[in-house]
Amino acid sequence: MTTLTTIAPQSYEEVQAAICKDGRIFVRGGGSKPALSTPSALGDGAVLLDMRWLRGVVEYEPGEFVFTARAGSSLREIAVLLAEHGQHLPFDPPLVEQGATLGGTIAAGLSGSGRHRYGGLRDFLIGVRFVDGQGRLVRGGGKVVKNAAGFDLPKLMIGSLGRLGVIVEVSFKVFPQPSAYATLRVTQASLDAALTTIARLNGSSFDLEALDLVFEEERPTLYVRQGGFAAALAERQERLRAWLGGGEPLPESEEAAFWSASREFAWVPATWALVKTPVTLGVIPALDRVLQAAGAQRRYVAGAALAWIAWPGDLEQLDAYLTRLQLGGLALRGEAEWPFVGVRNGASLTARVKRVLDPFHRFPIL
């Protein structure tokens, strides 16, 4: 591996200064997604920007339900601060305990199981400041929950992998956190049965915080999470259970732990690759046949909008499978020269944007 100069900027100006020097720039936050933050083939003179020292909340007025923080702030410190005021990031960003940062979460474009209720990262990010490949500090969006002024640059940063710019400051809208949660565990006779149940739930008026399909010794099992006022929760869960025709409530002592373990990918074997793949209900049967045959572990979360794939082998094989199914994915862990697998659309538009924001190829290709 190439030796890297590491710079740990503590101000936006230091990020700008680093980019104004020569050399390829590689960005790392908490390092919780090694496939995205382990530089490869950068050449001499490459610089690693360690963003963890660019941290701290810039602005947070709880009554406003909006906060602004430096991009290197960890999800954990933000979660603790929000929780003090009964608030949270409803899209349930993953890898909190493993040190993921706000900037890294945006650059990777990650939402968790909790995105089921109100939407994903893209629905809660309202503003960014980033430094582009020419060292220019740019702002897009704002600090209010509704804003239609100018091009939506925050959206460009989502999933940009630090290859269109270095995110230095972010603004999110937040929501009140439900005061209590309850989860129903519902085993399913088959994958088809599970998908049918998910389709029924997706079309129903039950307000679900999360709806995940996991395999417990290859047996499809649904975890259905509800949240709200504690006083109403037991009755709501009972109603849901009756509607589903079964299911056992997770004991209170296990409820939060289950979702936390899910958020941290505790189920993914340490040496395996981990790949995010956007899916729809319709494609899951074909995808799951391939994954099961290959011995992969997987979860279909957020009402079957998102597959997390734990892949034991070479990612090239998964790439071929996903391409055949016209699916695309992003490797978060695993050996990968190039983190994208399967198909990806919009490449020509991405290239045009990249020419504007990174004309001198300071960041890796995207």
Partner: protein, 482 residues
């Protein structure tokens, strides 16, 4: 620019009755809902297929002719104002819902589909399309996408961008791109989200994949009357701070109440200085628990009266009054300007007090009807364009309101877009570098700046501002306001 070249090619490709050239045919297209601006295009193409739109854009690119895509022309920021001597590509005939998949809760639609028609088509499956601009009876999804339209129910589920999963679009140089997909998730930069709200500058959306939501099991709609606008604004801040998450929170002031009552008899209390509508939605058991909590918050906000919609009929009437308020205010005054600034929600009371003071200073009436839960103001500045200098005074007042929004840390537009109207305020909200990068991005897609030229960016050439507001057709006596 070679206009004759373009028109010659178009004439060969589409029947004469779909390529409008005569002044009388062009008049309806000279303005949109922001009637203070007017500009005559060289021609209007009534496109019927996606292929025609793609061809038209490619021809405009080849001949260097600016174009504006247009749906129903309901833009309040002048977003669909034609470019003088350019081409208007009218999309209303591309109004097919191509696919509706209730299991996956998506609809794939063409840009000319009317907003409300999506919900109508989804209704038999218990689903609906959430963004609900007041013009949803006539405005199109293509326009909603271009301007990232909002509505009364953005508080919980967001604006148009939060409901668009994928797009097929033709870029200004004729390249056709496919962005996003059918999943709620994606990898790589969120290009779909980047396209939405680009005000037509990135080209024309041809197919839009929309996310549908299940209809809530129940609603609870509360109507609280207050002695002052500030008290209603403070009540909103209290509801937000209480941790409740209503589906909608709207405020109307005395002038708006009077207008709405005169127009649709919504049953609003007429002696109130301000009216707050709060709507809870969701599972019945949860909503009942939230409702008890909401009523405590409302009671402690010193309302004059509080009423709760007893049934769907009453709820519908409350919303009809609210959604007709803009056009109803039109009855109170020959002309009006609508502003769309956003302030932090905790500063609402303060912002409203400032607007009241400005209204007195300028000697112009201002009606307020707005999305309070989002901090999205809609002051309607009433004026008479026949009185010399009044339009200019109204514009100056509007400018002060926008500057106040920026000073409070807000935005110049929440949902109407920048369009023609707020171009010169962009440089108060963004730095030169921000605007420079936006301009570079635009030119990366549209080097000749053909798509919706003159909009959003401060330096755009301005067509003459007209002294008074009626739409060109209204002037000719063809249409009239309700």
């Amino acid at each position: 620019m070679n206009l004759d070249g373009l028109l010659g090619e178009l004439k060969r490709r589409v029947p004469a009755d779909r390529l409008l050239r005569k002044p009388a045919q062009l008049a309806p297209y000279e303005s949109d809902a922001l009637t203070a601006f007017r500009s005559r295009p060289a021609a209007v193409l009534l496109a019927e297929t996606q292929e025609e739109v793609i061809q038209a854009v490619r021809l405009c690119h080849r001949y260097g002719v600016p174009f504006v895509a247009r749906g129903s022309g309901t833009s309040l920021s002048g977003g669909s104002l034609p470019v003088e001597n350019g081409l208007v590509i009218a999309l209303n005939r591309l109004n097919r819902i191509l696919r509706l998949d209730p299991a996956q809760r998506i609809a794939v639609v063409e840009p000319g589909v009317i907003n409300l028609d999506v919900s109508r088509a989804a209704a038999p499956h218990g689903l609906y399309y959430a963004p609900d601009p007041s013009s949803q009876l006539i405005c199109t999804i293509g326009g909603n996408v271009a301007f990232n339209s909002g509505g009364a129910h953005c508080l919980k589920y967001g604006m148009t961008v939060n409901h668009v999963l994928g797009l097929k679009a033709v870029l200004p140089d004729g390249e056709v791109v496919q962005l996003g997909g059918e999943s709620l998730e994606q990898v790589g930069p969120d290009l779909t989200g980047f396209f939405v709200g680009s005000e037509g500058l990135f080209g024309v959306a041809l197919e839009i994949t929309l996310r549908l939501l299940p209809k809530p099991e129940c609603y609870r709609t509360v109507l609280a009357a207050y002695d002052s606008l500030q008290a209603a604004g403070d009540a909103v801040a209290s509801v937000v701070a209480s941790g409740l998450l209503p589906g909608a929170m709207e405020i109307m002031d005395a002038l708006a109440i009077e207008a709405a009552e005169a127009a649709v008899q919504a049953g609003y209390p007429r002696d109130a200085a301000a009216l707050l509508i709060v709507e809870l939605e969701g599972e019945r058991i949860q909503v009942e628990a939230e409702f008890a909590h909401l009523m405590q918050v409302i009671e402690s906000s010193n309302p004059k009266t509080v009423a709760v919609a007893k049934d769907d009929g009453e709820r519908a009437r409350i919303w009809k009054g609210r959604k007709s308020a803009f056009s109803a205010v039109g009855r109170l005054s020959p002309d009006y300007l609508v502003q769309d600034g956003v302030v932090p929600r905790s500063r609402l009371g303060e912002a409203l007090a400032t607007i009241e003071r400005l209204s007195q200073d300028y000697g112009l009436r201002v009606a307020n009807v707005f999305h309070a839960g989002d901090g999205n103001l809609h002051p309607l500045i009433l004026f008479n364009g026949r009185i010399p200098g009044e339009l200019e005074r109204a514009e100056a007042l509007a400018g002060e309101i926008i500057q106040m929004c920026i000073a409070l840390g807000g935005s110049i537009t929440g949902e109407h877009g920048v369009g023609m109207e707020k171009r010169h305020h962009m440089s108060s909200m963004f730095t030169e570098t921000d605007l420079q990068i936006m301009a570079e991005l635009r030119r990366a897609l549209d080097p000749a700046e053909l798509a919706n030229r003159g909009k959003m960016f401060p330096q755009g050439e301005a067509p003459a501002l007209h002294g008074r507001g009626p739409h060109p057709l209204e002037e000719q006596g063809v249409i009239s306001r309700m």
